[in-house]
């Protein structure tokens, strides 16, 4: 396990008859940002809960630095849960101090860390404000600070930017990058935001229905599904959708045609040059188009290609 800090071996979790995680096998490298990408209900949080020892797996093992997760030094991991897990009646400083105390951080070091964290996450002015009086974005940032107060080797962030405004998201993303680049931490990031996974992750694991579907760098994943562009088309009625999709499939250089969230998604080489022909054909057939756009391949398209569907919300 040299160079790896965490390994899941045939990790399986069943809730009654429901198979939440199905024989998950993966290794996470030291010092990387590892993206765990999947729709809501894909099994990301369940996997993570097992990986940090909060949930017992039905079968399989988790090794942290080659040791069983049960025997792991609790200081090794810091987890930022998906939900806001804060003591609402305590101030920002009091929340951080409590967690620092729980990890036996020496008092002088703790005071310094609290100050630094509040500064890095733009919460200094709110140090003595009760959590109940903070905005959603501030709470989310404090939620992250709570996970790293003891300077863990592995930082696990479960959908950290959920519900954040763009400004707070930028602060968060910068901080996640600094964790890897400056503090040399290993960051495990679960998200259903393709953009987030794409921008932050060194490697991405795509998981759906409890199964690991792909694991690679975002660049390799995008390369794997081809260089083609994406045409997204919205039609006003569903009756014509099938006809249009069949027509697009027959076009030259078409790689794939799928329906995602009510939109027709065409991936093809040199898609821009095909636009006049497509529009002309549909006009001839009296088919109206509500919306039409062309864009470059993204990680979302990788996901669609692999799962055959868009992200479930």
């Amino acid at each position: 396990m040299e160079g790896y800090v965490m390994e899941a071996q045939d990790l399986t979790k069943k809730f009654g008859d429901f198979l939440a995680v199905d024989k998950l096998n993966l290794k996470i490298k030291k010092g990387e940002v590892f993206g765990f990408l999947g729709p809501n209900g894909a099994g990301k949080t369940t996997s993570i809960n097992m990986m940090v020892g909060l949930l017992s797996p039905t079968s399989g093992n988790v090794l942290i630095n080659s040791e069983e997760v049960e025997r792991m030094d609790k200081k090794t991991i810091g987890i930022c849960p998906q939900e806001l897990v804060l003591w609402e009646n305590l101030t920002c400083s009091e929340n951080l101090k409590l967690m620092g105390d729980m990890y036996t951080v020496p008092k002088d070091i703790l005071t310094e860390r609290i100050e630094t964290l509040l500064k890095d996450l733009y919460l200094t002015e709110k140090a003595d404000t009760r959590v109940s009086n903070l905005s959603g974005g501030m709470k989310r940032r404090l939620n992250l600070a709570m996970a790293v107060i003891h300077e863990p080797e592995i930082v696990l962030l479960d959908e950290p930017s959920e519900g954040l405004d763009p400004q707070s998201r930028r602060v968060l993303w910068n901080y996640i990058r600094s964790l890897r680049d400056d503090d040399k931490k290993t960051v495990i990031l679960t998200t259903h935001l393709m953009d987030e996974a794409d921008r932050l992750s060194d490697r991405v694991a795509i998981i759906d229905h409890g199964k690991l579907l792909k694991l690679d760098t975002p660049e390799n994943l995008k390369r794997e599904i081809g260089e083609g562009d994406i045409i997204e088309m919205t039609l006003p009625n569903n009756e014509t959708k099938e006809y249009v999709m069949k027509y697009l499939e027959k076009l030259e250089d078409t790689i794939s045609v799928v329906e995602v969230d009510g939109k027709i998604n065409l991936r093809a080489f040199n898609a821009v040059s095909k636009l006049p022909k497509i529009v002309g054909e549909l006009e001839k057939s009296n088919i109206q188009i509500d919306d039409l756009s062309v864009r470059q391949n993204t990680l979302e398209d990788v996901f669609i290609e692999i799962t055959g569907t868009g992200l479930r919300e």
Partner: protein, 415 residues
Amino acid sequence: MKFMSIASKDLKELLRDRRALFFILLLPIFFMLIFSFAFGTMGQDNQPNNIAVVNQDNGVTLPNGTTVNYGNNFTDTMKSLKYQDSDVNLFNITQTTDENASNLVKQRNVDLELIIPPNFSQSVLEMEQSVQGSGNGASLNGSNTVSSKLIIRGDKGYSGFGTSLSILTGVVGSYQNSIIGALGGVDPEKFIQTSVEGIPGTQSFTAFDYIAPGMMVFAILLLSTSVAAMLTKEVESGTLRRLKLSEMTSFDYLFGGLLPWSLVAGAQIIILLVVAIMFGFHWQGGITSIILAVIIGIIGGVASISLGMIIASFAKNPPQASQLGTLIAVPVSFLVGAFFQLPQVVIGTFMGQEIQIYSILPWYQVATALRTVLTNGGGWNSVVYNIAAAIGLTAILFVIGVYLFSKTRLKSEKT
């Protein structure tokens, strides 16, 4: 010292949560006020007081040769006494043997038993003669007096005992005075004394004096609801999960939580005592009794915290914990006699103490001890058994609470 951080956290959360504080502190005060009006001196109807009389008086032969039994005379006097401006008798008297009288007290069929000693008539006669002697200018030689002692026995934790005792004490005094008449010059205490076993006499004992310590126990019991709700809130909000991920141990969490809640229990005793005194509670004892009551309250608080842990082991969310807590705390309050005296259900004896079916609940011991200390003015020796029993029972409850809460909430989740 992680438990100190947990204690500090819990205390801050508690003090900053106004709704919780209201529930914990003001609600019992509100109940105390209601009960003070309902069972205090205000609006109390006159009722005959049930007492058992054991007349062991041998009687006495007067100088003129007639035989008189002052014991019977005193009993008849008591039978004929009525409340002022009322047709209601002061006493409903059952004349019986000592053994049967004790049973009647235990069954709560009577409030107390009055034992008239064999030499009662002799002492009354001497008192009469000394009064006459005093009237004739003769002096009484105290060393030759025959004094008798009326013994009053009863359950010191029973409110009826206190009420009947205060009236009876007054009646004895009146009886002595009626014999002495207007002549005066004689101390009747030299001839007829009263001995109260287990309780000092009070002049205006009301049912509220019994209920006030019960209300303190009720308030302490309600802590279980607050503790259960707080613990369940930690589970629901995920903060307990966060703590579980850290180096905190079950001991840190549960012992840390114990400290502020114990302080609350102690504070409740003091606050409720002040409120009760303001509204007519006849508090016996001094600072020592308050210190003792706070210690007893803290023991009861720990028992309630343990009950809270048990409730939180099963409740899924704070509203459910509150409902479940109330569902348990209120009936338990009745079961430990917080609001009214329960029938005696003796299941055995231990170290000379009767074990009742309710005795297995630590709050029963707490309630009894609080009444002994605050209402009856009893000291450490009077409550040592109750305190020891309360500590023992609380320890058992605490172990069960820690076990269940640790098993269900502090371990890795299996499902």
